[in-house]
């Protein structure tokens, strides 16, 4: 223990740094400084092939660092300060609470595979049933705080908000449907331990550390996410840089618009595994190249049913369940993509 004064100073410094990060974002907003990269696909034609990744990366990093810094800090803070013991207690209790928490709280848990699959299994085993577990599983990667912030800043807040809403509907829908299928019920029965299981008050006594330690822990988690995500993000950016520079606009305009566009985008999104956040960057580039907004929405909705995610889940639930939710997620991404296209006239 360092004594209370040192603790207080540390808390103040940490809070200050958090405030600075938030301040930077607000300041950039006031000054109308673009946090999204500014290069247009046409700009790339003047660079040689080996120059493309450098310009592209520079364009991103010089503009997006504030946004990324904010997103990772926010993700860490939110994760640390969400009342986890409350979540776990209610998750184990009942179905309705399970669905509610699955949809309302999933966005606050920034996903790393480290958290997702165990929680999915935990929810299933603890007796909340397969429905809420699936809802949680689909909701968290589609609408977590990191993804939403980056989608909002890089593409548009309209798309970000629509993405949350449609993901929510899809996730609940998939959960409810799977809970009704015979194979869903079978998994549920197989894994349920007993009606009265779940944690009792005696076995969980979470220790609340002082504020400064929680802040450090939050920032550390943010840093951990950076370490997990950024290497893939940077490699992804280099590839996306080339795609942006060398994909002829006619191809994108020809194939990624209209009903075909929605279909192609939705099919490509799932199996084509794009690491977290890269799908947003690639989506943004394709949008600039002429992809319709409807196809973009379908594309972004494809995230939860990518292959690594499905592999991990299939270890707990059977393939039948996995394929069912993948199919529902795909069908919903097509349906909502088309619907959005029709409503906004951007098919």
């Amino acid at each position: 223990m360092n004594g209370s004064l040192a603790g207080k100073i540390r808390t103040a410094l940490l809070l200050l740094s958090v405030i600075i990060v938030v301040g930077l974002l607000i300041y950039s907003r006031i000054m109308a400084y673009s946090l999204a990269p500014t290069l247009q696909p046409a700009d790339f034609s003047k660079y040689a092939w080996y120059e493309v990744p450098f310009y592209y990366l520079w364009d991103y990093i010089s503009h997006a660092w504030i946004c990324l810094l904010f997103a990772f800090t926010a993700a860490g803070l939110v994760y640390e300060f969400t009342p986890k013991e409350m979540v776990t207690r209610y998750m184990s209790s009942s179905r309705v609470a399970g669905y509610a928490i699955g949809t309302v709280l999933a966005p606050f848990f920034t996903v790393c595979s480290c958290t997702m699959v165990p929680l999915f299994a935990g929810i299933l085993y603890a007796g909340a049933g397969i429905g809420p577990a699936i809802t949680f599983l689909l909701m968290a990667p589609a609408a977590n705080i990191l993804t939403i912030l980056i989608t909002g800043e890089f593409i548009s807040w309209e798309i970000a908000i629509v993405r949350i809403i449609v993901s929510l509907i899809t996730a609940v829908f998939a959960g409810v449907i799977i809970a009704k299928t015979p194979w869903g019920k079978a998994i549920e029965k197989e894994h349920q331990i007993s009606q009265n299981s779940g944690a009792t008050q005696q076995t969980i006594e979470i220790v609340k550390p002082p504020l400064d330690e929680r802040l450090i822990s939050a920032l550390k988690f943010g840093g951990y996410l950076v370490k997990q995500i950024m290497p893939f993000f940077i490699v992804g950016l280099i590839i996306v840089g080339y795609v942006t520079a060398y994909t002829p606009q006619e191809i994108v305009e020809g194939y990624l618009t209209g009903v075909t566009g929605v279909l192609i985008a939705s099919v490509a999104a799932g199996p084509l595994y794009t690491p977290t956040l890269v799908e947003i960057v690639l989506g943004r580039s394709l949008l600039q190249l002429g992809m319709s907004k409807a196809a973009l929405l379908s594309w972004l909705m494809g995230q939860p049913w990518d292959i690594p995610n499905m592999m991990a889940v299939s270890k707990v639930a059977r393939w039948k369940v996995v394929l069912t939710y993948a199919f529902i997620a795909w069908a919903c991404s097509v349906a909502f993509g088309l619907l959005y296209g029709i409503i906004t006239g951007s098919l």
Partner: protein
């Protein structure tokens, strides 16, 4: 000699943060050896039936001392774990 059991609960294979948590707990246990305490550190699987039926749904990494979950969803500090183990030891009647 008091025996304390510390479980580090995480997925199998252990994720990076769970490995860090386990190292922290092991270091704390090492320090407490000098204080006449046997600390048994164990890594348990967060999705095993035993763990779920005992503790319910957990966020990884979690640390349980003598069957009580004390830390959830974060990597603790070494001093903190040491304090928790000492506290648990006081509750155990010495024989």
């Amino acid at each position: 000699m008091k025996e304390i059991k510390v479980e580090v609960i995480g997925p199998e294979p252990a994720c990076v943060r769970c490995q860090t948590a386990k190292k922290v707990v092991e270091k704390a246990a090492e320090r407490l050896k000098q204080a006449e305490m046997t600390v048994k550190v164990e890594k348990t699987n967060i999705v095993s039936k035993e763990v779920v039926s005992k503790y319910g749904v957990l966020f990884s990494p979690a640390v349980a001392v003598n069957g009580v979950v004390k830390i959830m969803g974060r990597v603790p500090r070494e001093e903190e774990v040491e304090r928790l183990i000492r506290e648990a030891a006081e509750k155990v009647p010495s024989n």
